[in-house]
């Protein structure tokens, strides 16, 4: 079973996406902050990270800095955020980040299709 770490502080987004991915047969670690995400990263084997950027307790960028230090097999990261393009360019070019998706601009079906391409 493929394992996905979902780092998202908004409970609605987190629950909706997690539920959808579970029905497709993925195992989901749900983290409510960057900090919680790091805990999972240290203790589990993960195939893909879905990372929100704007979070109160440790945002996505901080998480990414720690991730670079501790993730041994450099799990691919897919950014899921609603912030604008000028911010997007700074992070989307960074290593191990496979894509940057604006949440409001994609439906769950297309998003899970994208996720599939990075996990198999």
């Amino acid at each position: 079973m493929k394992k996905i770490l979902l780092v998202e502080d908004d409970s609605e987004y987190r629950t909706l996406l997690s539920k959808k991915l579970k029905t497709l047969g993925y195992f989901i670690y749900e983290a409510k902050s960057g900090q919680e995400g790091l805990q999972y990263l240290k203790s589990s084997v993960i195939d893909l990270i879905l990372l929100d950027l704007v979070m109160l307790k440790m945002d996505g960028l901080k998480f990414y800095q720690f991730y670079k230090k501790i993730s041994q097999n450099k799990t691919p990261i897919l950014i899921l955020s609603n912030i604008v393009l000028s911010d997007k360019d700074k992070i989307s070019k960074k290593k191990y980040i496979v894509d940057y998706i604006i949440k409001s601009n994609i439906n769950l079906d297309s998003l899970t299709e994208r996720i599939k391409t990075f996990i198999n």
């Binding site: 704007v54 955020s81 604008v84 360019d89 604006i102």
Partner: protein
């Protein structure tokens, strides 16, 4: 006398040389012993300080604008995105149990929500260009492939009105690539093509042609739609403007920002946009995009 003057003013020449290339960081050496040049030196120093302050104020303002847009985008998109995911889930999970009328109503709400998201995106794009906050991310882009994917996206909409879509790539070499921001280029084409679909008539046509000359890539998009009235032609690139002949139902599906965005991007690439329109016959938009867009 001339030599004395030259020697005395030598430090300023260096400062002006730097200033001419935008470097205002050096201070004027002001001698402890006052002479008739002292006021000139002090004057230049004060000027430098004023310029430095203004530059830093401008940078600060730029940063504020960019932060504002980031946050506005985030705050506007977040609830809309959640609603659309929720509705999508609701419709999918209950597709069997929902009453047809309820399902239809929810579908309408869902479509309106998607429109709303599009509007927020358009509004953000226009604001970004206007506030000078657009970041161009150019790449060698297969523009024919981009146009084809837009046509694919719009196919369903076009089929409803039995429109025929065609794309001619005339003298364009196979796999021709233009160094341009693919997202912005796609936004431009999407707007023009979707207008051509939206304002067309039943069984109408949309012909897209792409060709190049020595310095430009040319694209024309011709429709057989309602056209733009003479009196409206000067106004179509204004914000929130809709043609006087646009039906109420069609007007409800746009806010009049698409062409504003199209023009802003084309201007940014130092390109040109023109159009020719006949009422009830159709409109042709012509784009000229430089093959060597300069990015500073």
């Amino acid at each position: 006398m001339a030599t004395l003057l030259k020697n005395k003013l030598a430090p300023l020449i260096d400062i002006f040389a730097k200033a001419s290339i935008g470097d205002f960081s050096s201070d004027v050496p002001i001698a402890k012993k006052e002479d008739e040049f002292t006021p000139v030196f002090i004057g230049v120093q004060v000027m430098l300080e004023v310029i430095r302050e203004q530059i830093s104020a401008l940078k600060e303002a730029d940063l504020r604008k960019s932060e504002f847009l980031s946050m506005a985008a985030h705050e506007l998109r977040t609830p809309l995105g959640k609603m659309s995911w929720r509705l999508e889930t609701l419709l999918e999970e209950n597709s069997q149990s929902l009453q047809i009328t309820v399902k239809n109503e929810l579908q309408i709400i869902y479509q309106n929500l998607l429109r709303n998201i599009e509007l927020v995106n358009d509004l953000l794009s226009v604001s970004r260009v206007e506030l000078g906050q657009t970041v161009e991310n150019p790449r060698y882009t297969n523009i024919v492939a981009v146009i084809k994917s837009i046509l694919k996206l719009i196919e369903n909409e076009a089929n409803k009105d039995k429109l025929s879509l065609s794309l001619q790539t005339n003298n364009l070499p196979k796999n021709f690539k233009l160094y341009i921001d693919p997202i912005h280029f796609s936004q431009v084409m999407q707007n023009l093509v979707s207008n051509a679909v939206k304002y067309n008539r039943r069984n109408g046509t949309i012909k897209i042609k792409v060709w190049k000359t020595e310095n430009y890539l040319h694209i024309s998009i011709a429709d057989t739609g309602i056209g733009i009235a003479k009196k409206d032609q000067k106004k179509i690139f204004r914000k929130f403007f809709r043609g006087s002949n646009v039906s109420e139902s069609k007007a409800a599906t746009s806010v009049g920002l698409g062409l504003v965005m199209v023009k802003s991007y084309i201007k940014m690439w130092a390109g040109k946009i023109r159009f020719n329109s006949n009422l009830d016959k159709g409109t042709v938009f012509n784009l000229d995009i430089p093959l060597n867009i300069s990015y500073t």
